[in-house]
Point group: C2
């Protein structure tokens, strides 16, 4: 445990965060000239700033200096726009230098980097993440938050190359995505609660304390419960998951070794 203020490496700073959504247009997009990518980028920006509920075709249009109907040239409708937002946001993974598309340093390293990449996205776009989590994926094999065939392919290949059986690789994928989804969804929702509600200064607090007196254990553990350990917990759970996968791998390769020498 570092003594200096714990510095969460996945926090949005320096790394570009939402600025990384649109590095640049094809050659140069000064201002005029709408474009699907520009619309989607603006939508992400807008949600980041004003929340998902505030996103409206008209408001997004205004944000781009255009009437709402102009957007329909580039986006078939609102649903599709939201899908595009989700896609745009996870595509940031491709631009993340700390996430490798090939598992060149072993599968553990690959999973670690990928998980932190996704976490960085979740923390950079807390208002978008629930959307990533809940929108049903296009293909049934894809699971949020890793919704692209390309990532799934890379993921499976990495594990298979490391000696995982087909079944084990698929099981690992499922465990890994559930893990990411659960942890990150709770983390962003927890984070959101700290700022979002226009706190009634005393009425709500009074209510809460009244409820608390009927629940002595929660009352006693309240400092522990409300402490934010997300970074450490994420790290530890991820490590545990990877260790567990490692044991699965050992067993399965031990079995196959036994088979081949018998």
């Amino acid at each position: 445990m570092d003594d200096e203020r714990e510095h969460d490496p996945d926090s949005p700073e320096g790394r570009g965060a939402s600025a990384a959504v649109l590095p640049a247009g094809p050659p140069d997009t000064g201002r005029r000239g709408l474009d699907r990518r520009r619309v989607l980028g603006a939508a992400v920006e807008y949600i980041d700033q004003h929340g998902l509920g505030a996103l409206t075709m008209r408001r997004l249009g205004a944000h781009l200096g255009v009437e709402a109907m102009a957007l329909y040239r580039y986006v078939p409708g609102r649903e599709n726009l939201l899908d595009g937002v989700v896609e745009t946001v996870i595509d940031e993974l491709y631009g993340d230098p700390d996430v490798h598309m090939q598992a060149q340093h072993g599968w553990q390293d690959f999973l670690q980097r990928l998980a932190h990449g996704v976490r960085r996205i979740a923390l950079a776009h807390p208002e978008v993440f629930p959307l990533i989590a809940t929108r049903p994926p296009a293909a049934p094999w894809l699971r949020p938050p890793l919704r692209s065939l390309r990532w799934l392919e890379t993921f499976l290949d990495a594990l298979l190359a490391a000696g995982f059986s087909d079944e084990a690789a698929v099981a690992a994928y499922r465990a890994y995505s559930s893990f990411l989804l659960g942890h990150l969804l709770l983390e962003v929702s927890h984070r959101g609660v700290k700022i979002s509600p226009e706190d009634e200064p005393e009425g709500g607090a009074a209510d809460a304390t009244a409820d608390l007196e009927q629940h002595p254990t929660i009352d006693r553990l309240e400092p522990l419960l409300s402490r934010d350990e997300s970074a450490a917990e994420f790290e530890e759970s991820l490590e545990t998951l990877i260790e567990r996968l490692g044991r699965v791998l050992e067993e399965s390769s031990a079995r196959s070794a036994r088979r081949s020498t018998s």
Copy 2:
């Protein structure tokens, strides 16, 4: 592995499922007489039948044989209604005879029963569950899907009584809720995909296969990937989680035993 068709014990059948939402009114509610509970119950029913997106005040009113504005007598507004829906659905836990409010058979049994209870709810109300998962909890200590102080209190007490330290109990709660959330959210969304999209008979399939040819591993593993192993995976992951918590408990109690004998 049973040879007979695997029978998922958490599947909605017999158990009452959504019929268990409203066992009965105070003494007797034949038909007339609206009521907050009736409104909420109807909302759950409506969402179960037509999906979350189809729920509007007007339609819910019609479903109850009443104009939309009548609902505002019992519900302050739509947001609050959705909160009420979430609460209503998790309150089914209290009526579940297989879920105990006291950990009378040990904490492992308690966690097992609770997890399956929540899973049963998720499967009984797949359209409601994403709402449970994403709606921010009232108090910051509460995490979906276990959103009530009462459950949290019981949970913590059970672990503390079993010898968990305060920190370990809280950590266990966090791990447990992330696990439930991730697994169940993915399970219901996977399930939803099987029925929900009004499948275009061939265009979509052609698209998918085209994409697939560029991803040979996914293509090869497709049967594995699209196989539904949710029940077994849930069971196994839950077991693993509980074992892990068991090891945490052993370590911590070994440490405290050492301390007390030195």
